[in-house]
């Protein structure tokens, strides 16, 4: 097992390396660089000044050289400086992390809490009106764009109550109640969709497992329903569910970009878009790596859970 984990960690490292190259090359394929952006806000371009700036920032060198420089610094823990703010990259990223993390965790927690039980319930009551109601409810969540839901929620709130959640970020350490209040609606708007996905996959996986022989045996042996459903069936149905949760966590980041904009939350997801548009390479590079680390870790955990949940899968082959 230890060797297996070690192997997986090495592989995760290779994944991250590949990822960093991809982002690095893609960003540099896009036309324009930070000097264009600096001149953009000035409303004109002076080519001589621009080349001087490029040299100053070292982005006139070949991409391979730039990449090695970046990698070298990254390994030494130096994330570089934001081109736009001329501040250390980490200083710019750090305060935005908790915002996105809180939103993602709340949304995911909400979606699991809502998605798993309804999925199980829907599968065990297949064909029953409860099944239909739950499925329609969850499908509705899957069908509505979360940004649209956010727009509608804000529109309704301001029209009926003349009130909307705070547009400036409130730290949970400052005022936990206000903070949760502020995050509640965006988390619901994002989480509703994920919960629908989780509910569906739970339902479909449960349906498959419930017709397996060993479950029929368990029923036949007269075991209590909750025990059959949760201990036997759900444990085996949870494989695809966990895969999905792992994937969803990564995908949430994408959904958050729009939601963070609608609710004006200063998170990393929205900031990443700014940084890409602003060609702020160090920020894009480091943020993308950060997201990649989260995703790779999530996948690693999912893989490890696989082996735990399904002993039929052997370490060496996974």
């Amino acid at each position: 097992m230890k060797i297996y984990i070690f192997k997986r960690l090495i592989i995760a490292g290779v994944t991250l390396l590949g990822m960093s190259m991809l982002i690095f090359v893609l960003m540099r394929l896009a036309p324009g660089n930070i000097t264009d952006i600096i001149f953009e806000s000035a409303g004109y371009v002076d080519e001589a000044d621009r080349h001087r700036l490029e040299a100053e920032l070292g982005i006139d060198k070949p991409v391979a050289v730039q990449y090695m420089v970046w990698l070298g610094n990254f390994v030494r823990g130096d994330l570089g400086k934001s081109y736009r703010y001329e501040l250390p990259a980490w200083e710019v990223i750090k305060p935005r992390l908790p915002v996105t993390l809180e939103l993602a965790v709340l949304a995911l927690g909400f979606s699991v809490l809502l998605g798993v039980p309804t999925g199980v319930m829907s599968a065990t009551r297949r064909g029953h009106p409860v099944d239909y109601v739950l499925r329609v409810f969850s499908l509705a969540g899957l069908s509505m764009p979360s940004f649209w839901l956010g727009m509608i929620v804000i529109l309704l709130l301001v029209r009926s109550l003349g009130w909307i959640p705070s547009m400036t970020y409130v730290s949970p350490f400052e005022n936990l109640g206000a903070n949760l209040f502020q995050f509640l609606l965006p988390a619901l708007a994002v989480g509703y969709r994920s919960s629908a996905l989780i509910m569906r996959i739970t339902r479909s996986a449960m349906l498959e497992v419930l017709r397996e022989d060993y479950i029929r045996t368990a029923w036949a042996k007269g075991q209590r329903e909750t025990q059959v459903v949760w201990r036997h069936a759900f444990k085996n149905a949870s494989l695809p569910v966990i895969t999905l949760i792992g994937i969803e966590f990564a995908f949430l980041i994408g959904g958050l970009i729009v939601t963070e904009t609608v609710f004006n939350l200063p998170g990393v997801a929205r900031y990443l878009v700014d940084a890409i548009q602003g060609r702020d390479y160090p920020i894009v590079q480091n943020l993308a790596m950060l997201i990649a680390v989260v995703v790779v870790t999530a996948n690693l955990i999912v893989d490890l859970l696989y082996t735990w949940l399904d002993p039929r899968i052997k370490y060496g082959q996974a």
């Binding site: 499925r135 479909s204 494989l239 990564a250 894009v284 993308a288 996948n299 899968i313 996974a318």
Partner: protein, 298 residues
């Protein structure tokens, strides 16, 4: 593949009277939700095909009638440039359907194949394929789309590529996990033991058994792809103006004029939601029908 599966799914006692009508009726009776989904999908397809007939105005023609509420002249009202919303919504179905179907087929096809091969063969192939999938998955869709939009300019093809890239690892992972579970089943082991070739095992025995999850995935992703297009267009990265796309319609006018002209927010959003709702309902129903392993359990 899908046609064969339907034939398998139809119970034998109906063989003699197996006409389209009765099969359809059976489907509707057994699956009212699926039927509703089917109706929504048919509406979507009809709207896309006959958009020119169904629309009452030229969808890009501007006029002095700006922000007119829904009424007899403009069924769903007009936007801030005086364009007829009904005609724009109808035409918008083309973009949604095109991007949805194209990106799902590309993504699920490529991803499914990778998942099948990597799950079945295991070993180094699996390792490399899974790392590739990790990298693809770790790349947030919008980052990719943004960079692509920057590099190549926002366009229909780029939108399709960006969305299918998201679907590939999802399809690969899901199919792989099904394959991993199925591979260990006794009948596969026996097939291998009596000397059936890898290809044959993979395509004759394992592939059909992954169809259930695959169909769920494809339909869920079709809806997801339509939503993805909407989100990308909402951020201004999808299909360029003035050609109508639902997501784009929500971004430009709706955001700004939401209070004065709520119809600009409501109708395009409703169109997206109904289209996705339809694919999801139909997908669920088809899944129940198509998955041979679920036969008899309803």
């Amino acid at each position: 593949m899908a046609i064969n599966a339907i034939e398998v799914a139809v119970p034998e006692r109906h063989l003699q009277e197996r006409t389209w009508r009765s099969a359809l009726w059976l489907f509707v009776r057994q699956n009212p939700l699926g039927a509703l989904g089917g109706v929504l999908m048919v509406l979507l397809v009809v709207a896309a095909i006959f958009a020119d007939v169904l629309s009452t105005h030229n969808p890009v023609r501007t006029s002095a009638h700006v922000l007119v509420p829904p009424g007899s002249e403009f069924w769903l009202g007009t936007d801030n440039l005086g364009r007829d919303l009904w005609s724009r919504v109808v035409h918008g179905s083309r973009i949604s359907l095109l991007v949805g179907i194209a990106s799902t087929l590309v993504g699920a096809g490529v991803g499914g194949l990778i998942g099948l091969v990597s799950g079945y063969l295991g070993g180094k192939v699996d390792l490399i394929a899974q790392r590739l999938m990790d990298i693809m998955q770790a790349l947030p869709i919008l980052v990719l789309a943004l960079v692509m939009a920057a590099a190549l300019g926002p366009s229909l093809v780029n939108t399709i590529i960006a969305i299918s890239v998201v679907i590939v690892p999802r399809a690969a992972r899901l199919i792989r996990s099904s394959v991993l579970a199925i591979r260990e089943f006794v009948y596969i082991e026996s097939a291998r033991a009596i000397g059936v070739s890898h290809q044959r095992v993979a395509f004759r025995h394992i592939l059909p058994n992954t169809i259930g999850p695959f169909i769920v995935l494809v339909t869920a992703q079709l809806g997801g792809a339509i939503l993805g297009e909407a989100a990308l267009s909402y951020l201004g990265l999808g299909v360029p103006e003035p050609y109508p796309s639902w997501g784009r319609m929500l971004s430009i006018a709706a955001a700004e004029y939401a209070q004065k002209a709520p119809w600009l927010v409501i109708f395009p959003g409703l169109a997206i939601s109904l289209a996705v709702f339809g694919t999801n309902l139909l997908g669920d129903a088809l899944r129940d029908k198509l998955d041979p392993r679920l036969r008899g359990s309803s």
